[in-house]
């Protein structure tokens, strides 16, 4: 164990005067979180900390005393966990679901503590709290030792960049205050945490229920000579969260244009500092510029330092906007459209490599795909395991590819410029939290080749407007049948077309893919890219694919110019498809001989607003094909 710098310091907090004291000069603010397994007593510990330090207002204390009736042994006692668990469902179940932020200050320091849930189901909430904290109080139950969830939380804390940990061995009263019990758990943790790179680990034996060693030193464990938890928190040296002496990183949040003559870049100095006259580079474009003015509400400033929210103007009319990052020329960030990152998955729907998500880094949004899941991290043993997807709360090392280059730093160098979130394009849920390791291929080495003949010129020569017609629907719905007849009609009208069919593509280009959800996503992604190339060649492309997920169909739409993607929903009820069963596949799927079959044991997400819906029960294939061609005429894609 690392010995804390100031080992024994009794808490100075005994009076109500500390309730709202300003932080003492020099120590500033400490953001920390409490984590650990369910029932290890996290809420009780924070409640105890606030209560014993005299930081709970009388009216809230009285409320908690009333709410404690029936929950405590002695009438009039307080269940201190009630001081923090606030949601109705949490009180009903006696668990913490969501992060609660508490604010308190002692004579030495001010604190923001995040009380986080222990349930594995809510690990994402715990990770969220860890992302902005500089110290973690990790609880362990003295009777149970290190549980899976304790280890999981230690690993998540480490990944999130926390370098200082307090191992609070709780419920020592129930373990007889036994030093051997405490030492064994502390030793266990030390050997487990060795590879996690913590700079300090301080183990403290305590009882949150009784208050031993939380604020007041306990007589129950005379063998313990270290600090109480509060004394340690008040004095822990954790360093700055934002790096004042780091390289300049100025994030443009908003373009400030009060009148046509003024164009300011409003943003925050994430690290370093800047001054008027400084030469800077605008990323990711790499354009050089020079700072003209630094504006604040109070007037022009001589300098902006780490943490300042200011507006800068540039000397020349350099193109810079929201999401751009300014650095000094010698201290450039990485710029790449492919990079390796640790990804913590936060959604019930597993990660699909190949699926297009929206990535947010800084104030920039960009489509992104996990191209390779290199390994998943076993959060109990730290072992690397092979994986196809990441489930809720799993952590993996991934390669990602973004639709445009990003400027970033490795997460270990800067939490603000090295982090990102992934958002599901369809549900808008935040599904992943990422920490960038390093670029894979610098964007500077990759230039899109300027082509001599444009897509529009090729199309002009063919006297047609290229488009992708995407026929989606269940297996046996009649997609290929209708698409074939549409192509025949278009051909007769003199149009240049190409038909891409699910089975045919899987016999060639995509023969390495199976039928898992992840492989289906990749299948559609590749077909989308091929179809796009064919529209560049000037063709009208017909795709007949089940494409069961909306997200992938939308991703293909996003590849193409506005109006060039038509979703054609071949709407045949499942019962009808099963009745037809042209390839005998439904029979196989129902007998269990065929796994992951859409509509049977794999989901199908019907389109919500397709350009065309074809009702195969109402009309035959020829009539439907004529309707498709009519629609193409109406849109000016097919000629008269």
């Amino acid at each position: 164990m690392t010995t804390p710098l100031n080992s024994i310091l009794n808490s100075s907090v005994t009076s109500a005067a500390a309730l709202v004291a300003e932080p003492a000069a020099g120590r500033g603010l400490l953001r920390f979180l409490t984590c650990g397994s369910v029932d290890d007593g996290k809420s009780t510990l924070i409640g105890r900390l606030l209560h014993d330090a005299g930081l709970v207002p009388d009216d809230q204390l009285e409320q908690a005393r009333r709410d404690s009736r029936g929950r405590v042994e002695t009438e009039g006692d307080i269940d201190v966990s009630l001081l923090v668990d606030g949601l109705e469902a949490e009180r009903e179940q006696g668990i913490t679901i969501d992060v609660a932020h508490r604010f308190f200050a002692t004579g030495r320091r001010s604190f923001i503590v995040a009380d986080t849930p222990g349930h594995e189901q809510y690990t994402r909430n715990m990770a969220t709290a860890a992302s902005t904290a500089s110290l973690a109080v990790l609880l362990a139950d003295a009777r149970k030792g290190l549980l899976t969830q304790t280890r999981r939380h230690a690993i998540v804390c480490s990944l999130m960049g926390i370098r200082h940990v307090v191992l609070a061995v709780n419920k020592m009263d129930l373990a007889g205050g036994d030093e051997a019990v405490f030492s064994a758990i502390a030793r266990d943790f030390q050997s487990f945490a060795e590879p996690l790179g913590f700079r300090s680990v301080t183990a403290i034996p305590l009882s949150a229920r009784r208050g031993d060693n939380v604020v007041h030193p306990s007589g129950a464990m005379p063998w313990y000579a270290g600090p109480t938890l509060l004394a340690h928190l008040e004095t822990a040296e954790v360093g700055d969260e934002r790096t004042a002496d780091g390289p300049l990183r100025f994030l443009v949040e908003w373009v400030n244009r009060p009148d046509p003559d003024f164009r300011g870049l409003s943003g925050t100095v994430l690290s370093g500092s800047l001054e008027p006259g400084d030469a800077v580079t605008v990323w990711p474009s790499g354009r050089p510029a020079r700072i003209a003015r630094v504006l604040t509400f109070e007037g022009d400033a001589a300098r902006a330092r780490t943490g300042d929210a200011v507006t800068v103007t540039l000397e020349d009319a350099v193109d810079a906007g929201r999401g751009d990052l300014l650095s000094h020329p010698g201290d450039a960030p990485e710029v790449a459209d492919q990079f390796a990152a640790h990804l913590l998955w936060m959604a019930e729907d597993p990660l699909m490599p190949g699926r297009s998500y929206l990535l947010r880094a800084g104030s920039r949004w960009v489509p992104a795909t996990v191209t390779t899941l290199r390994h998943a991290l076993n959060v109990e043993t730290l072992e690397h395991t092979a994986a196809q997807t990441l489930e809720l709360n799993a952590v993996g090392l991934c390669n990602l590819s973004t639709a445009a280059p990003l400027a970033f730093d490795p997460y270990t160098a800067n939490r603000d410029t090295g982090s990102f979130i992934l958002v599901d394009r369809y549900t808008n849920r935040t599904v992943g939290a990422g920490m960038i390791q390093h670029p894979l291929r610098r964007a500077a080495n990759l230039h899109p080749q300027e082509l001599a003949v444009s897509a529009a010129e090729r199309a002009d020569l063919k006297r047609q407007r290229p488009a992708v017609l995407w026929f989606t629907g269940l297996s046996g719905a009649g997609k290929s049948t209708v698409a074939n007849r549409v192509e025949r009609l278009l051909h007769a009208l003199g149009h240049h077309t190409m038909m891409l069919d699910g089975d045919n593509v899987r016999l060639g280009l995509n023969r390495d893919l199976g039928f898992t959800d992840a492989d289906r996503v990749e299948n559609v992604r590749r077909v989308g890219e091929v179809a796009k190339l064919m529209t560049d060649a000037g063709l009208i492309v017909l795709c007949a694919f089940i494409a069961p997920f909306r997200a992938e169909r939308e991703a293909v739409r996003a590849l193409l110019p506005e109006g060039a993607f038509l979703e054609v929903f071949v709407d045949t009820p499942l019962e009808e498809c099963v009745r037809r069963d042209p390839k005998g596949l439904y029979a196989k799927a129902r007998s269990g001989a065929l796994k992951n079959f859409t509509g049977v044991d794999s989901p199908y997400e019907p389109p919500i607003a397709p350009e065309l819906r074809l009702d195969t029960a109402a009309e035959d294939a020829d009539a439907l094909a004529r309707r498709v061609v009519e629609e193409l005429r109406r849109r000016g894609i097919a000629g008269a």
Partner: protein, 301 residues
Amino acid sequence: MPTLPDDLRLLEAESIAILREVAAAFTRPVMLYSIGKDSGVLLHLARKAFHPSPIPFPLLHVDTGWKFREMIAFRDETVRRLGLRLLVHRNEDGVARGIDPIRSGSALHTRVMKTEALRQALDRHGFDAAIGGARRDEEKSRAKERVFSVRSAAHSWDPRDQRPEPWRLWNTRLAPGESVRVFPLSNWTEMDVWRYVAAERLPVVPLYFAAERPMVRRSGALIMVDDGRLPLNPGEVPEIMRVRFRTLGCYPLSGAIPSDAATVEDILAEMRASRTSERQGRLIDGDEPASMERKKREGYF
């Protein structure tokens, strides 16, 4: 440029970044202005965030008709002095139904004249982001609120299904009909607000400072007789007392505290010695268990 203490400087910058995010990410944002000290800080931060541009969104005051007269005067003076765009919305349907905080009771009054009124105003103007001054230190369910908090098309809040907010990477994407509530002061405390008011010399409603005021005692709270609409119980005679308010709302529902604090510095000193929380004078919080959480689920701020 005045130098703020480092902790306030960082809180200020964090809030300013959030306000800019709202302006950049949403089509029709609005800032709720409730005239109190938190609203005053929020307004000041917005002026700083967009300077030299004016604040790029309007302010909205949901008026229950029962605010202290001094609050309304302060509001109108502030709007005039700063040249702000202010929308005032009152639930006329509630007025027509005769809803008031005394006869209807605080719970019904709050639901109709605040929650429903707010929903009406947001719907009428099609606002997709509403900025509020709520702080996590105020109340237990607010302690669990996100900075960017999504509301369904029906304005409801599901505390069990909130988006995780790692780092400062806000997920601002909305489905049609959804809106977001944004709380730039999430990480501020009551003490931070007053220290900031002192440091930036911000004007606040005089009701925050101690003065002689006509008061009556109602269910353990000190209620000010602000106008002739407060019915006096038999034998009840308003008493002149030296009091001030820690929070301001509808006057029949806002309890005062006896105090001699006549300046911001006095208030800071008084808070350091105080043993009660800011919201103890708020009658509406104690309506029922988990009262705030239920109000918030229905769309209360």
